[in-house]
Each structure stands twice: as C-alpha cells, then as structure tokens.
C-alpha cells in the first residue's frame, strides 16, 4: 500500500516538474498577436444602423474585436449618402486603422475609399461594393446570386414545368450594387431562356409600401404571373402582402441576411423561399480579414481580397433552427 502511494507521489512529482518545464516555453505568436491589436481603431460606416444587416455586422465585429483591445466605433449616416461621405472624409483625417464601409451605391464613395487607402487606412467593404476595389470585400457575389435566382425561377416557372413563364423582379435602388450586379446575373440566365417573360423589374427603393403597390399592379396586369423575385426580405413583406391580397399562388423568392424574421416569414407562408447570406458569418469573415491585415502590417491597398459569402436557399422544408439568427438584445 505504502509502496503504491509512494509510487503515485513520485509520478505526480514527475508530472508536475514536466508541466513546470512546459511553462518555460511561450507560444511564439501569442505576444505579437495581442500586441498587433493594442490601441487599434476600427470605424464602421454602414448606410444606416437600425436594420438587421448593419446591426448584425456591428454586433459581430464588436464581439470579435473589442476583447482584443480594438476600439470599434460606428458612424451612422442614417440613409444619407452625403452624411456617409462626410463621415468617411472626416475619418480620413482622423486616421483610424481600418474603415469598414457598406456602400449605398457603386459610385458615391469610390474616390473617398481610394483616398482613405492612400492615407494608409485599410478599407473593408461589406456586401454592397463600390466600383473601386479596396483591401477587402466581404459579401455576396451578386452576379452569381442573380444567376442562381433566375435559374430557380426558370425551374419553378418555365412553361415546360407547367408554369406560365411570367416572372417579375422587385429591385431595391437601381444604382445599388445589389441591384445592378444581380440584374446582370438574372439577365445572363434569362437571355438563354426566351420562353421566360420578365413582365416587370421596378425598383421599390427598399420600401415595403412601394413594393406592395408595384406588386399589386403587376399582378393585376398579369394575373397568370408565376414567380416574383424580391431583392430584400424586409422590403418584400410588402410584396408578400400584395400577393396574399391577390389570393393567387405566386412563388415569392426573396433574399436577406437571415434574421429570425426571415425564418418566421417562411414558417407562416409570407415567403416561399429565402436566399440567405448569413450575417454573423460575414461579420466573422470581416473580423478575420481585419485581424489578418493588422498582423501583416503591409501598407493599405497592397493586396485585394474578395470573400464571397456562401448562399443558402432556404424553404419551409429545409429550414432548421440554425438557418436564422437573432439580433443581440439592445442593452
């Protein structure tokens, strides 16, 4: 008995000394890792706070960066392109280390983003890109997404499959990247399918009331319309209301960041299908790229990285609890 306990004690001692030895070696990347974030500033300029996408990105970035000692600040231009341009201009002189930009359209910020990079600020663009490419773009491949959406509509609605071949699109703002590139993708596909008829491609200005009025009129004119693709689930609450009122069976394919409301909409039949670009995933991609840039310490604008967000085509049938995410509660 005594022998055994002595043996155990000896072994424990041996183990302890071993671990003491391990403590002597440091993880060689640990110190420089934390060092490279100390006192850094990341500024975030969305088109506006107050909706699922931008709030989701902000929450994700904050969660990933603040524990590392990065200062994260939000400049909210509240849907005003002018205010956004001013925010970026003043940021250029304030020189944060990184600017995260969500472009309202492809032109407005292009020159400013170039200036920011020249001033040595890393520029990360999210979801809607500017015509000027910066260090990082994280977001949807809208051309590809448009093609996939058009193919989906062809699948559902072509006369061969028993549909009427008539489809409509409800765009957001004509000049937004999400609209321009997506229409391009949709047209790529539709040009190969002469049997499909695009009866309307109006822009509803991201507004649900406009979407509703446009859709109601379109359905009125084309009662046999088979499918409608909308460019944002929040706006398409209006599109869905018009479809519901018409009492017709029209396939509504919308898209969004996968906020809980999208899944609720699928569950209660508001939407037939939602293309989800998972916002927490995008936030993580951005945070990763920011960490990468801050550790590499190359001058801004040296490299251009594009990370396209994977898309999920979610319907009532393949939806799971994890398909959508919830906004963190406001403190």
């Amino acid at each position: 008995m005594r022998m055994i306990s002595k043996g155990i004690m000896a072994m424990t001692l041996a183990l302890l000394s071993g671990s003491a030895f391990a403590q002597g070696i440091d993880d060689p990347t640990r110190a420089p890792y934390y060092e490279s974030f100390k006192g850094k500033r990341v500024a975030y300029v969305p088109v506006a706070m107050g909706f699922d996408l931008t709030e989701g990105w902000a929450a994700g970035l904050k969660e990933a960066l603040e524990p590392l000692g990065v200062k994260f600040e939000i400049r909210d231009p509240n849907w005003s392109t002018d205010a956004g341009a001013q925010a970026i201009t003043s940021l250029i002189s304030e020189k944060p280390d990184v600017i995260v930009v969500h472009n309202p359209d492809v032109q407005s910020y292009a020159r400013l983003l170039k200036k920011a990079e020249e001033a040595g600020i890393y520029v990360v663009q999210v979801n809607m890109r500017s015509s000027y490419s910066t260090d990082v773009f994280v977001g949807v491949d809208y051309v590809g997404m448009g093609e996939q959406i058009a193919n989906r509509l062809v699948d559902r609605c072509s006369p061969e499959k028993g549909g009427s071949g008539k489809i409509a699109i409800v765009q957001g703002v004509l000049t937004a990247a999400a609209s321009i590139y997506q229409m391009q993708g949709i047209n790529n596909v539709l040009s190969k399918h002469p049997e499909m008829q695009l009866v309307s491609d109006q822009a509803a200005d991201w507004d649900s009331s406009k979407a509703k009025n446009i859709t109601a009129t379109v359905i009125q004119q084309h009662p046999d319309i088979c499918g409608i693709a909308g460019f944002w689930d929040v706006m398409d609450a209006g599109t869905a209301a018009a479809i519901k009122e018409s009492g017709r069976n029209i396939y509504l394919l919308t898209q969004g960041g996968g906020n809980r409301m999208a899944c609720d909409g699928l569950a209660n039949g508001t939407y037939s299908e939602v293309v989800i670009y998972f916002v927490p995933g995008q936030a993580r991609d951005m945070a990763t790229m920011i960490k990468h840039l801050l550790q590499l310490k190359q001058p801004a604008g040296t490299t251009k990285t594009t990370l396209f967000t994977p898309l999920a085509f979610v319907t009532k049938d393949n939806m799971t609890a994890a398909s959508c995410w919830d906004l963190p509660a406001k403190n």
Partner: protein, 324 residues
Amino acid sequence: MGLLGRVSQEQIVFGLALLLCLAFAVALPGFLTTDNLLNLVRSVSILGILGVAMGLVVIGRGIDLSLVALMSASVAWVLSLVEIGMPLPQALAIGLTFSLLVGVANGWLVAFVEMPAIFATLAMGTLIYGFGRYYLFALDVVYVPEAARHLLWLGQGRLLGVPVPIFLFAAVCIAGQLFLRYTKSGRYLRAVGDNILAARITGIPARPVIVLQYVLSSLIGYVAGIVTAASVASMNTRLAISTYVYDVILVVVLGGIGLSGGKGGIRNVIVGTLLIGVLLNGMTIMNIQYTVQNVIKGVILLTAIVIDTILNPRDEQTGQQGDI
C-alpha cells in the same frame, strides 16, 4: 381669360385625371377593369387620408411637416409595445395619446409661441424621429407581431369585395367634410385660415382653433399610420426621413387647396389623390422606373402651380403677409 377664367384648379386637375384615365384606358389593356381601379384607389388611399390631415391644416393656413414622422414613430412604438407583451388596445391608446400630445405641442408652438408653422413642425418631425429611433423602437422596420394580427384586416382585408383602406379613406373624407361644413370649429378653422386678424376681431378664438388643427392632423395621421402598418404588416420608420410628406403636400396643393389658407375643401384632396393614383398606376403598368416617375410627378406639380398662378393671380387683396 374669358371662359378659362372661371375654371378652378380643382376642375383642371379633375379634367387632367379624366384625360389621363381615358388615355390609359385606350393605351393600356387591363387599366379600365374593376379590379385595377380598386387597386388604384387602394394604393393611394393612405396618401389620401394623410392628404385630408394636411388639407385641414393648410386650410387653416398652417402646414404640418411632422405628419409622416409622427405617424411612423407612434405606430412603430405601438407595435414594439405589443411585441413586448402589452395588450393591443392599451398599446393603441398609448400611441394615440402620444400622437395627440405631439399635435398639441405643434399647435402650441405655432399658436402661442408664434413660430412659423413650417419651422415648428419641421423641427418637431426631426425631433420625433430621433427620439423614437433612440428610445421607442430598436430597428428601422418594426413588424406587426402575432398578437396584433387582427390589425392586418384594416390594411389587407376586404369588405363587400372592396379593400378596407378605401372605406377608411372614404370615412375620413366624409368626417373631414362634415367637420368643415357643419361644425362651428370647422367654420372657425376656415375663417382663421382666410384672415386671422379679421377672425380675431369677430371674436373667434384664433389660437385654440390653430391648436385644434394640429391635433386633428395628428389624429388622422395616426389612423393613416395604423392602416399603413396593417397593409404591409410592418411599419417602416424610414418614411419619416423620406420625401413622403412632400407627396402629401403635392396631393393637397395639386387638388387646389392654396397654401395661403382659407381656400378649398376635402373634395380638392380627393381630386389630387386620384390624379396621383392614376398617374402612378399607369406608370407602373408601363414599367416606368420610380426615379422617372418622380420626375413626371414633379413636372405635373409645377404645371399645376403655374396654371393656378395664371388663373388666380395674386393681388393686393389675396396676397397675404407671410405667404409661403
């Protein structure tokens, strides 16, 4: 001018609407169907309800630029309250109270502090939107929660085959017309709008009447807000910072309610609303993008004002100090 001299702007606009109707009916198959006409009126009935609210204020020689901001903020607050578990009637009552209080504040600023209406309500609109965004609701777009599902009928339901918003528009119009024509306050309102000094000399309580007109516009705006939320199952508070309120003014001015006050009635609002409705509907059928639609709307507004200025020129008698 001869014959034309006796044509009022209301008649011109009504004629224009009929002419457009005819043109669309000939050119666009499917325009002149019952369904489309119902859809046409439904799509502008909220605009029309707001037009009545704005019309009452403008007849009283004021203007309410906080109308849309107030409607979106108060209704968004109601929906958020229901979402966190408050019973619907209670939430509706709170929203209504909030609306009326802001109306009183507007009226007080204009009548007693004697601020120009255009500045008082402009500032109020910004204040309400900012306040709401910060304290009352978390997101720009607030959805109608399950507990408030009954509300949806007001915006999406049908009665005897006619969409409910059309009935509500009609009800607000009739109420407005009765108020202006048969109540004492309604007549006072027109008198104050026409000539506040003369009204005061004859013993009309001018300041309370001014307060009343802003309270009424808040009340009607609140109704319009509920219908808006019900019709798209959500309230988009961004409306507050959009140009929507100018669309409302467009309807009022287009219909022939002069901004100098005292002129016009509910009929003008209806005519203005119909013209806009016909235009929007026809342009949507023709698949004209909304940016171009805005250009066309703007041109029509300018034309209407030019015609009005030519037919009813301002002179010493009609021109009033402080005209906008």
